[in-house]
């Protein structure tokens, strides 16, 4: 498969899948097959892209020419390929899980759910693979527009209010902050293109750099940097099947990847000129990280707890991206990988538990690990990764983040990251431990057969994914090095 074809598959297969699933909602078998097939084709394409990026192949696909001298274009870069592989790989697992969930729960609108998750994944992959700022903006809008119905899906009035809040937060930030930042950057750089080493190098003064950084970081409200984090709580009541898309695969990661790409390819060394804004934003992210982890600790509803836990992790990405150093960027990339793998596993595990036991509260999880060992073993592994326990992915990410913060002279940021990790341990650790340590409840299953293969397998594979950085951190650093090394 050529890199161009792989690129087309990554972006096109989920969209085609969405259209087909909507057109052919019955029979359910065909619908489910189409849904999984689209996700697997996208994942295969994304892994081909990783290979192509490793060989430094140049591949670019132009989808449209929406403005003079500007293409809606997508291209292969190491960061983009890695992020796309992450999104599409987890998207494939989520597709399988969706099928299991739809069958086990008797979902009212499974076709719509499948179509929307496919579209949101395509948008998130588009953000990762975007060739220029405007393409990234458009792909990000696709993520938001495809994800907002997921918040309201299968819910009544409170769901609609939540979806309105979700949409208004994300769209207002992107239209009111991100778009002006892109226009401003275009005015300064004369183009929308990303450039390894920074498109703004030599083109901005310190005041402009500070202003632009604030607009970009807050414009990507998907990353949930305070004060544009309102969507996190609004979306936490979404149906279980939509949660991984919102917090682990599409919305939250696309915000983080957007900030990472801007930090690496638009600012680069110019981040040092935006030191005041970067410091303020890092402080906001650090305090927000701890606050989110604290709020998660206070929540008994597991969807809310996980939502705030994911917010705390995404703010760690923002911190890494703003450290203005290659180590910071690398740490942020590791954190995105760790966050997505762990959050997707946790969200899918919660959904499996909810659908077979109808338990939604933290205190109702006691002893369930004895009845659903595979699901809760995976839950435990993912929770350990989220906390940052070695040898799981999250540990390397946290380690690099703390090191990079300390190297940048921001010991206080390293302390905040450590505090947030401790708080994460407090809200996730006992949950996983209690599931195994307590006595198994009688009559736990509402479904007599427990969780089906379709519900268990993706959760387990997701948990395994949290281990891969153990052996891949060093090769990954080499793979990603073009991201912070300017082309000669």
């Amino acid at each position: 498969m050529s890199a161009e074809l792989a690129l087309a598959c990554v972006l096109g297969a989920p969209i085609l899948q969405a259209a087909l699933v909507m057109l052919l909602p019955r029979p359910p078998g065909l619908r489910d097959l189409l849904h999984m097939l689209g996700a697997f084709i996208a994942a295969a394409g994304a892994f081909v892209l990783v290979g192509a990026a490793g060989e430094q192949s140049q591949a670019r696909v132009v989808a449209a020419h929406p403005l003079p001298n500007m293409d809606l274009a997508f291209s292969v870069s190491p960061l983009g390929a890695l992020a796309a592989a992450l999104i599409c790989g987890l998207g494939a697992l989520h597709a399988v899980h969706n099928v299991g969930l739809a069958r086990a729960s008797g979902a009212k609108t499974p076709a719509r759910l499948m179509a929307l998750t496919g579209l949101a994944n395509a948008g998130a992959a588009g953000v990762a693979l975007s060739d220029n700022l405007l393409s990234m903006f458009i792909a990000y809008q696709v993520v938001v527009m495809a994800a907002f119905p997921l918040v309201a899906l299968d819910r009544e009035e409170e769901g609609r209010a939540a979806s309105r809040r979700f949409l208004s937060t994300l769209l207002l930030a992107s239209m009111g902050l991100l778009l002006p930042a892109i226009v401003w950057t275009h005015g300064l750089a004369g183009a929308f293109d990303f450039a390894p080493g920074g498109a703004l190098v030599g083109r901005v003064d310190s005041i402009t750099a500070n202003g632009l950084l604030v607009l970009f970081v807050l414009g990507f409200a998907g990353a949930a940097t305070p004060p544009v984090h309102g969507w996190i709580s609004a979306a936490s009541g979404a149906s279980y099947s939509g949660l991984p898309t919102l917090y682990a695969i599409a919305v939250l990661p696309s915000g983080c990847i957007g900030i990472l790409k801007v930090a690496a390819f638009v600012f680069g060394p110019v981040l040092a000129d935006a030191r005041i804004a970067a410091l303020v934003l890092i402080a906001l992210a650090g305090v927000g990280m701890c606050a989110a982890a604290l709020v998660a600790l206070a929540r008994q509803d597991l969807r809310e707890r996980m939502a705030y836990s994911c917010m705390a992790q995404s703010l760690a990405v923002v911190t890494g991206a703003l450290l203005a150093s290659p180590a910071g960027i690398f740490a942020a990339v590791l954190q995105v990988v760790a966050l997505s793998c762990a959050a997707a596993t946790l969200m899918m595990a919660l959904a499996s538990v909810a659908v077979v036991t109808e338990r939604h509260s933290a205190d109702a999880f006691a002893g369930l690990g004895r009845l659903m060992p595979w699901t809760f073993a995976s839950f435990g592994l993912a929770a350990a990764s989220m906390i940052g326990l070695p040898p799981f992915s999250g540990a390397w990410a946290k380690l690099w983040l703390i090191t990079a913060s300390a190297s940048a002279g921001m010991v206080w940021a390293a302390v905040l990251i450590a505090v947030a990790a401790t708080l994460t341990f407090m809200h996730l650790g006992p949950l996983a431990a209690n599931a195994f340590a307590s006595r198994a409840p009688a009559d736990a299953f509402k479904h007599p057969d427990g969780a089906s293969f379709w519900l268990v397998a993706p959760v387990f594979l997701g948990a395994l994914a949290t281990l891969w950085l153990l052996v891949m951190a060093d090769p990954l650093a080499n793979f990603l090095s073009p991201t912070w090394t300017p082309e000669p």
């Binding site: 449209a64 020419h65 929406p66 405007l134 903006f137 527009m145 979806s163 309105r164 002006p180």
Partner: protein
């Protein structure tokens, strides 16, 4: 072939302006409603094809204008007349759907009035002098009033709207008459094209006249806050009246305003005052229209107010007076026309006893997928969502504004998009995420006549995916309006 091209070159413009009026006369006299409808559709499509052929020939073929003594082509007329003519043709095709329930002796007259409205505004867009322009505007405006009254006769609210349209139109007519008289007196020229080069003896008088003309056309274009006539008509008026006034009359008035701006702005004594007036009305319209759209309780009023905000952006772009500004204004006007067409045609498919109420569109995306898609596409365009014509226009406005250091104008464009998030999101949520509440009345096969308008609306909104031809045409027309060789 050569002969046909030569004939088109020689008589195309005149024929394209005569066709709607000749068609209207034939329709008014035609026996039988359906026969009248067929004749009206043929006349409208012929007019649209002719205007498009003339525009392509002049814009891309650089053909010389060989028009009648009182006619003249320029960038605005060449770019926007085909838009108006095609919208009129699509509305006429759909018109039979609206008139099915109330066929009476006046129905052929309704079809004729659609043609007359389109013809009047087209004439104003091709006027060489102020008198012809006034005649064209009055024909278009009065035909729209008559149409509003005839197609809203079953609802007193609609009739009230027609009366308001007439009253405000009368004020606008008076202002325009006085304004044109002041310009002609102060500048000593009748022809629009002579104004930029004219020796202005009484600059204050001419400037005041230009402001009055701008205000008069702003009233007709429903620019906020001069759009008080619209609430009643768009709230309770007939579907056909809403479509014709919302798409043809409002867009026609904005187009004429844009055209006049291109002649007045370069005039040394008038440019500054006119630019200020245009910008002030533009900003006010963006702000007020957006706020009203966000709070609208009637779906058609929402479209009307969103259109007012979009028209405000057009005025801002026109106020720049540069080729980029005119190009942006033309794209925005095109976007306004197609989004309004898709929106109001989609809204016309809403069922229930109160089809204008917001609840009527609950679940419309599932009950009538094409109508729902058209309304969603229009809402996204009004919002300025990427890959829609609305985004393309706003982007061009921002580029042109930033190029001229008018950061506040770019901010107004962004503010319009921000407000669009509220009403666009609300609309899409109702279309797709609410249960169907309104009871659908039994519908006949004529509902399919609405299809072409919906499909063309969606396609045109999506033209922003590959807008090369549109941008090239707008660039050429914008350069022509700015008096710059392309």
């Amino acid at each position: 072939m050569e002969a046909a091209l030569e004939a088109l070159r020689s008589y195309g413009l005149a024929a394209s302006l005569i066709a709607p009026f000749a068609g209207a006369a034939l329709v008014a006299l035609a026996p039988g409603v359906r026969f009248a409808w067929v004749v009206a559709c043929v006349a409208a499509i012929a007019t649209a094809a002719l205007t498009l052929a003339v525009s392509v020939q002049h814009l891309f073929g650089h053909a010389n204008t060989d028009a009648a003594a009182s006619l003249q082509t320029d960038g605005a007329s060449l770019f926007l007349t085909p838009v108006l003519a095609w919208c009129a043709a699509l509305i006429l095709i759909a018109a039979i759907k609206f008139q099915q329930e109330a066929i009476d002796r006046a129905t052929p007259l309704v079809f004729a009035l659609v043609l007359a409205t389109s013809g009047g505004w087209s004439l104003a867009l091709h006027a060489r002098d102020w008198v012809t322009l006034l005649v064209g505007v009055e024909i278009g405006a009065l035909a729209a009033v008559a149409l509003a009254a005839l197609s809203s006769e079953r609802d007193r609210g609609g009739l009230h709207g027609a009366l308001r349209l007439f009253s405000m139109g009368a004020v606008a007519s008076a202002l325009m008459l006085i304004g044109t008289a002041m310009i002609a007196r102060g500048a000593g020229v009748d022809a629009l094209a002579d104004l930029p080069m004219a020796f202005v003896r009484m600059p204050a008088l001419v400037a005041a006249g230009a402001v009055l003309v701008v205000l008069a056309l702003a009233m007709r274009a429903a620019l906020a806050p001069l759009h008080a006539w619209g609430g009643a008509l768009f709230g309770r008026g007939g579907d056909l009246a809403v479509l014709v006034v919302g798409v043809i009359a409002c867009v026609g008035a904005v187009s004429v305003l844009l055209r006049i701006a291109s002649y007045v702005l370069p005039a040394p004594a008038l440019g500054e005052t006119t630019a200020f007036t245009l910008a002030a009305i533009g900003v006010a319209s963006v702000v007020i229209g957006s706020v009203q759209a966000a709070g609208a309780v009637s779906v058609r009023r929402l479209g009307f107010y969103a259109g007012a905000a979009q028209a405000g952006c057009i005025l801002l772009a026109a106020a720049l007076g540069s080729p980029a500004g005119y190009s942006a204004a033309l794209i925005l006007t095109f976007g306004m026309a197609v989004a309004a067409l898709a929106f109001f045609a989609g809204a016309a498919a809403a069922p229930g006893e109160r089809p204008y109420a917001m609840e009527a569109i609950d679940g419309l995306g599932r009950r009538a997928p094409l109508a729902g898609a058209a309304m969603a596409a229009a809402a996204l365009s009004f919002m300025g969502a990427p890959l829609t014509i609305g985004f393309l226009g706003r982007w061009q406005l921002m580029e042109a504004s930033v190029g001229a250091d008018w950061w506040w104008a770019a901010s107004a464009g962004i503010a319009a998009s921000l407000a669009g998030v509220f009403f666009g999101g609300r609309l899409i949520e109702r279309l797709y995420f609410r249960r169907i509440v309104a009871v659908a009345a039994p519908v006949g096969a004529w509902r399919f006549s609405l299809g072409p308008a919906l499909v063309v609306g969606i396609v045109c909104v999506a033209l922003a995916v590959a807008p090369e031809v549109l941008l090239r045409a707008a660039g050429l027309a914008g350069a022509d309006l700015a008096g710059v060789a392309p």
